[in-house]
């Protein structure tokens, strides 16, 4: 029982309440102090808890209180759980989060929605921490949807532009599609595990018990575990922007840039990966689901990288890069390398936050110009930003010894190991895809750097004079994150390089190699070396090609662009594979048209028109008929009377005769 855990979540939430309720009256300074101090405090608490874990304590637990509590039937408590995995996530969230909060002070200065912005950001932090700390899936779902809400609010932060609101809405709705699968996944869990507690869902006995059960679908049978894993993974594809639900993330760049850094790069979008790591035993029990995850991850990585080639909006490039990197993480998950996935999650949080904040610094300096074609040559004006951005770029490209190098290498090796050492055919293909993607990543990132910072300036003159390095908190944040991006890789140095894979061990995700013999270990290390060399090679060539194309060797680029294949590919990339358009044509518009049609056809015409009003009309016109037969002529009345008597007597006599005959 550790109530302190609650404070990790509660502190940022407090910030939200204070700023949300009183922010308007407090003034910018107080707002910033409160908004930044509380996540920092939360970081401190997390750090303290983390150090207790390091000291050898078991996982910390807060029993909380009953939440959705049907005694004896369905008992879901509001309880928190703090173990290695949660600790790492908490530190990343509060750490990177705090830095981004600080950055925001500079970035959002003078915005009329200042306090609103910070209260949303605090709220986001709280929800994200709740997601991470949750002891059961349902509680995690609060955080899960809560971060989605904050994402929605922050994407549409500048609500006066319709496009921003539409992007926010799109994000929420697309996420909800995934959430439906998550919800149904939880139902299946409840039905078969009888609980949503993560400890239950990950306990080996339970999983073995449940994996014997199968479900029948119209299209065939599937094991329960696979069903759950796939459903939860679909949930993850929503949040973590994987095929087929990635379409919201590029649009989400409509929000303020620090938001993109925090929510749409470092933390929220990685919660899908976190979910997989959290439920590692469950996923591992289903090879089919793992295969699917690897396939989706690899394909997403490739697709997004390909689209990133032609994007001209600096944030869009980073957005597609994020999608691609998240694909990497899922690829790792699919390969069973959960520790690598988490590692990449952490390093990605560092360098992608850095990249976004760097781009933010550029955008800020350029007075909200995001088109890279109108930049160029900013290296001189923004030297510090340039350096840090470059560090980030190299880190993501996988240049040793920066953070991305270690993590990406681990992932690629996992694929290599599965595909070639364990000889799994499909894994070979996926490895190849991600291997190529590594090169592509290096290429489009260097393109981005080149277009923004290098070469000639395309900045409007009036603007250029005012472009200057934003100092203060912005610089501080860039500095901190640059260091983290540079050194983050050392958190989990693999054993063959003499490290201890400490992150993997700490979180319990690392597969121990201690049961291997010395020979096996040696051959493993050899292949690890091979894989590493390959990845460095591909990253290097990507970088070189990029520098060549966007540096001096422009002719290569233009000639490629002019070739018919190049044109076709370029169009395909620039149009983002028409995914948005296809979704629009297949789902969105038919649905709206259908709704309109149904409204008019069923509600207006059939129910109201024909049934309701028709019935009323029928009744009224029958009434009118009866009204009209009342002609007012006495002879007519007498005749009715007389005929009535005659007919009725005739009937009576008829009946009487029949009755008598019987």
């Amino acid at each position: 029982m550790d109530t302190n855990l609650l404070w990790i979540v509660l502190l940022p939430f407090l910030g939200f309440l204070i700023n949300g309720l009183l922010g308007r009256k407090l003034g910018h300074k107080t707002v910033s102090v409160i908004a930044c101090l509380l996540p920092v405090l939360s970081f401190v608490v997390s750090y303290a808890a983390w150090s207790r874990l390091v000291d050898g304590a078991n996982a910390l637990h807060w029993n909380g209180f009953p939440w959705i509590w049907l005694e004896g039937t369905l008992e879901v408590p509001f309880a928190l759980h703090f173990d290695g995995l949660a600790a790492v996530m908490c530190l990343v969230i509060t750490g990177v989060g705090s830095v981004i909060h600080l950055y925001s002070i500079g970035y959002m200065k003078g915005d009329p929605g200042y306090h609103r912005y910070f209260s949303y950001l605090n709220l986001f932090t709280a929800f994200m921490l709740l997601l991470v700390l949750a002891d059961n899936l349902l509680l995690m779902f609060i955080g899960w949807e809560g971060v989605g809400l904050c994402s929605y609010l922050l994407i549409g932060f500048w609500y006066e532009d319709d496009a921003n609101c539409a992007a926010g809405k799109k994000a929420f709705i697309v996420n909800r599609i995934g959430d439906l699968a998550f919800l149904i996944g939880m139902f299946v869990c409840l039905q078969h595990f009888g609980s949503l507690d993560i400890s239950m869902l990950t306990s080996a006995e339970e999983i073995t018990r449940v994996s014997a059960e199968t479900l029948t679908f119209p299209w065939g049978a599937a094991s329960v575990v696979t069903t759950i894993a796939v459903l939860l993974f679909i949930g993850a594809t929503g949040k973590s922007a994987q095929i087929p639900l990635f379409v919201w993330l590029p649009d989400a760049m409509a929000g303020p840039t620090p938001v993109s850094a925090l929510i749409h790069a470092a933390t929220m979008v990685t919660s899908g990966v976190y979910l997989c790591c959290r439920l590692m035993p469950l996923f591992e029990a289903s090879p089919a689901a793992m295969g699917l995850i690897a396939a989706v991850g690899a394909c997403t990585a490739l697709l997004a990288a390909f689209i990133a080639f032609t994007q001209n909006d600096i944030k869009k490039v980073l957005a597609y890069s994020t999608i691609s990197q998240l694909g990497y993480m899922f690829f790792a998950v699919g390969m069973g390398a959960f520790s690598a996935a988490l590692f990449h999650l952490v390093t990605h949080a560092f360098f992608k936050a850095l990249l976004f904040l760097g781009s933010g610094s550029v955008i800020h300096a350029m007075h909200h110009e995001q088109d890279m074609r109108k930049m160029g040559g900013l290296r001189n004006r923004l030297p510090f930003t340039h350096i840090t951005f470059l560090i980030g770029t190299l880190a993501i490209a996988g240049v040793p010894p920066l953070a991305g190098f270690f993590s990406k290498d681990e992932i690629l090796f996992a694929g290599f190991q599965q595909g070639f050492l364990n000889a799994v055919g499909s894994a070979q293909l996926f490895w190849l895809i991600s291997f190529l993607t590594a090169g592509m990543t290096a290429f489009y990132m260097i393109r981005c750097v080149a277009m923004t910072f290098w070469g000639e300036s395309h900045v409007e003159e009036s603007l250029e004079r005012n472009v200057h390095e934003p100092g203060g908190w912005i610089g501080f944040a860039l500095f901190v994150l640059a260091i983290a991006s540079a050194l983050g890789g050392f958190l989990n140095v693999p054993e063959f390089l003499g490290g201890h894979a400490s992150l993997g061990h700490f979180t319990g995700l690392h597969h121990s190699t201690s049961d291997l013999s010395v020979d096996q270990l040696r051959s493993l290390h050899v292949s690890e070396w091979q894989s590493m060399l390959l990845s460095v090679l591909i990253a290097g060539s990507g970088l070189m090609l990029g520098i060549h194309c966007y540096g001096k060797g422009r002719d290569l680029r233009t000639s490629f662009n002019d070739s018919s294949a190049g044109k076709a590919l370029g169009r395909l990339s620039a149009s983002k594979f028409y995914v948005d358009e296809i979704y629009d044509r297949i789902f969105v518009r038919p649905f709206e048209t259908l709704s309109h049609l149904l409204f008019i056809l069923i509600d207006r015409i059939i129910i109201d028109g024909i049934l309701v009003n028709g019935l009323a009309l029928l009744t009224r016109s029958t009434g009118n008929v009866f009204r009209r037969i009342q002609t007012g002529y006495i002879p007519g009345y007498l005749l009715t009377f007389g005929c009535g008597v005659l007919v009725l007597i005739f009937i009576l006599l008829n009946f009487l005769r029949e009755g008598g005959a019987q």
Binding site: R628, T631, G632, Y633, I634
Partner: protein, 106 residues
């Protein structure tokens, strides 16, 4: 002298004539006369029934006859009301055709 059925047939015939008169004629005066005819047709039946049943019944049971007397009185009152209404109608419409009275309808 006359058997019960034959008297009843006479009564029925008169009733039918009366009914026909009410239904078929348009002159209010004739309709009033037909109504009287209907009542009196029933009177014949009543008297006939009374006569038949009184034969076997204890003394003092002359319901049919008493009934007839009552009906005669009522018929007289009815005729007077009818005729006074006829006067009102005549004053207003200058006509004693039933078909003219049709302002109230629907």
């Amino acid at each position: 002298m006359f058997s019960l059925p034959s008297i009843l047939y006479l009564s029925a015939l008169l009733f039918c004539i009366g009914t026909y008169g009410v239904l078929a004629r348009r002159n209010i005066l004739i309709v009033l006369m037909s109504l009287e005819l209907m009542l009196n047709a029933v009177n014949i039946a009543l008297v006939a029934f009374g006569r038949v049943h009184a034969l076997g019944a204890p003394a003092g049971e002359h319901g049919g006859q008493i009934f007839t007397l009552m009906v005669l009185a009522v018929a007289a009152a009815e005729a007077s009301i009818g005729l006074s209404l006829l006067l009102v109608i005549w004053r207003r419409w200058q006509s004693i055709d039933l078909r003219t009275l049709c302002r109230l309808n629907n």
